[in-house]
C-alpha cells in the first residue's frame, strides 16, 4: 500500500458531513485547501505587514509576485483588464501554493484532483462569459467571427472558433491536473524503485543509486512544473479575459 503510486491521491474523511444525501465531508483535500489558503494569504499578509519603503526579503517576494501578475494581466488584457487582477492573482497564488505544498512528502496535492482544476477553469470561463455578455451584450459573439474571413469559409471558421472556445475549460483544467498527477506518480514510482531495490541487499543498493538520482532530478523538475503550471494557468486566464474585455480585437 505504501508503494502504491495512486495512494497519494486517495481522499480520506476527517470530519464526515452529509447534507441532503450528498457527502460534504471535511477531507484531507479540504484540509490542504485550507492549508493552501492559510499559507498563501498568511505569507502575503505577514510579509507586507511592515509596509516598508525598502522591502525586506518576504515583502520583496510578495511585491514581485504582485507585479509579475499585474504586468502579465496588463500585457494580456490591457489596462481595462486590470479589474480582474484580484481574480488572476488569487488563482495564481492558490495554484502555486497548492502545487508547492504538494511537493512535501505525505502531503496531499489539491491540484491533482480533476474536479478542483475543472472548477477553477470553469470559474475563469464563467467569468469570461458573464463579463463578456454583461459588458458587450450580443457583440460578445463577435469573438467567434474573426474579421477578414471570406464569406464561404465563415461557417467553418465560426464552428472551429466555437469548438476551440468550448475546449478551453477542458484543456485548462486537464493541463494542470495531468501535469501534477503525472509528476507525482513518476516521482513516487522512482522513489518506490529506490526502496524496493534497496531491500534486495548490496547489489540492490548499488542499483538503487540510479533511480535515486532520477528522483532527485525529478524533484527539481517538479518544482519547476509546480511554478510553470501556475504561470501557464495565469497566462491563459489573462488571454481568455482579454476576449471578454476586447471581443473583436484579435
Amino acid at each position: 500500500m505504501a508503494n502504491d503510486p495512486i495512494h497519494q491521491f486517495q481522499i480520506s474523511k476527517i470530519v464526515p458531513i452529509e447534507i441532503g444525501g450528498l457527502d460534504f465531508s471535511f477531507t484531507n483535500a479540504s484540509l490542504f485547501m485550507v492549508a493552501t489558503v492559510a499559507c498563501a494569504a498568511g505569507f502575503l499578509y505577514f510579509a507586507t505587514s511592515k509596509r516598508s519603503l525598502i522591502p525586506g526579503r518576504g515583502q520583496s517576494v510578495a511585491e514581485m509576485s504582485y507585479e509579475f501578475i499585474a504586468n502579465m494581466l496588463r500585457e494580456g488584457a490591457g489596462n481595462s483588464g486590470m479589474k480582474f487582477f484580484p481574480l488572476v492573482f488569487s488563482l495564481f497564488m492558490f495554484i502555486l501554493t497548492a502545487n508547492l505544498l504538494g511537493m512535501f512528502p505525505y502531503f496531499f496535492t489539491v491540484t491533482s484532483q480533476i474536479i478542483v482544476t475543472f472548477a477553477l477553469s470553469l470559474l475563469v470561463i464563467g467569468t469570461v462569459l458573464v463579463y463578456g455578455f454583461y459588458k458587450h451584450g450580443l457583440h460578445f459573439l463577435q469573438l467567434f467571427v474573426p474579421s477578414g474571413v471570406p464569406g464561404a469559409l465563415l461557417p467553418l471558421v465560426v464552428a472551429i472558433e466555437i469548438i476551440s472556445f468550448l475546449s478551453r475549460p477542458v484543456s485548462l483544467s486537464v493541463r494542470l491536473f495531468a501535469n501534477m498527477l503525472a509528476g507525482h506518480i513518476t516521482l513516487k514510482v522512482f522513489a518506490g524503485f529506490v526502496a524496493s531495490l534497496g531491500a534486495l541487499g548490496a547489489l540492490g543498493i548499488g542499483g538503487a543509486i540510479l533511480p535515486l538520482i532520477m528522483t532527485v532530478a525529478l524533484t527539481g523538475l517538479e518544482f519547476l512544473v509546480a511554478f510553470l503550471q501556475a504561470y501557464v494557468f495565469a497566462v491563459l486566464t489573462c488571454m481568455y479575459l482579454n476576449d471578454a474585455v476586447h471581443p473583436g480585437g484579435h
Binding site: F9, F24, L44, T48, L53, Y66, P86, F89
Partner: protein, 215 residues
C-alpha cells in the same frame, strides 16, 4: 477513517436544516439510528472506492471538494481583493510616489542651483560693468582735472611771461634813453680830445639825435 461519537453527532446535526425542504418524508429521522446509517455509508464509500476507481475520477467526493474549494477559494479571493491587493498596491504606489517626489525635489533643487548660478553670474557681470564705469569716470575726472591744471599753469606762465616782457621793454627803453646821454657825453669827450675845444651841447645833442635816427 474511524468515526468517533462526536463525529457521529455532528453528522446528523448538519443535515437537520436542509432535511425539511430536501427529504420531506424523512422529517424526524435525526435520531441516533439515522446518524449511524449516514456514517456507515460514508465509510462504505471510502472502502469501496479505495481499491476500485482511480481516486481523481471518483465522483463520491466531488460535492465535498467543490464545497470546500468554494469556501476556501472564496475566502482567499475575498482576502486578496480586500486586504492584500490594496496593501501591496498601496506599498508600490507609495514607493513610486516617493521616488517621483524625490526626483521632483532633486530637479527643483537643481533648478534652484541653476538660478543661483545665473543670479551670481548676472551679479558678477553688473559688478564688473559697474567697476568698469567707475574706473572710466575716475579716468575722465583725472583727465579733465589734469587738463584744467595745465590750463591754469599755462595761464599763470603766460601772465608771468607777459610781465617779464613788459619789464624787459621798460629796461630796454630806459637803456635806450640812457644810450643818448652816454653818446652825448662820449661825443663831447671825443670832440674835446680831438679839437681841444668845448663843443656846443646843443650841437652834440642834435648830432647824436641825427645819428640815432639815421642808424
Amino acid at each position: 477513517m474511524f468515526v468517533t461519537s462526536a463525529h457521529a453527532q455532528t453528522a446528523p446535526a448538519a443535515p437537520e436544516t436542509p432535511a425539511a425542504p430536501g427529504t420531506a418524508p424523512a422529517g424526524d429521522t435525526h435520531a441516533a439510528p439515522a446518524g449511524e446509517t449516514h456514517t456507515e455509508t460514508g465509510v462504505a464509500h471510502g472502502d469501496e472506492h479505495g481499491g476500485g476507481t482511480f481516486p481523481p475520477f471518483d465522483a463520491t467526493y466531488y460535492p465535498s471538494m467543490l464545497l470546500w474549494l468554494v469556501i476556501t477559494f472564496g475566502l482567499f479571493y475575498f482576502l486578496i481583493k480586500n486586504v492584500i491587493v490594496p496593501r501591496v498596491g498601496g506599498i508600490i504606489e507609495n514607493r513610486q510616489g516617493r521616488i517621483a517626489q524625490d526626483l521632483n525635489e532633486a530637479s527643483r533643487l537643481k533648478a534652484e542651483a541653476d538660478a543661483a548660478v545665473a543670479a551670481y553670474e548676472k551679479e558678477l557681470a553688473t559688478a564688473r560693468s559697474k567697476g568698469h564705469k567707475i574706473a572710466e569716470t575716475a579716468r575722465e575726472a583725472a583727465k579733465t582735472k589734469a587738463a584744467a591744471d595745465r590750463a591754469v599753469i599755462e595761464a599763470e606762465l603766460g601772465e608771468k611771461l607777459a610781465a617779464a616782457e613788459i619789464r624787459i621793454g621798460e629796461i630796454k627803453r630806459q637803456a635806450f634813453a640812457e644810450v643818448g646821454q652816454i653818446a652825448e657825453e662820449t661825443a663831447a669827450a671825443i670832440v674835446d680830445q680831438l679839437i681841444g675845444a668845448k663843443a656846443n651841447n646843443d650841437d652834440i645833442k642834435a648830432a647824436v639825435a641825427a645819428a640815432k635816427t639815421g642808424a
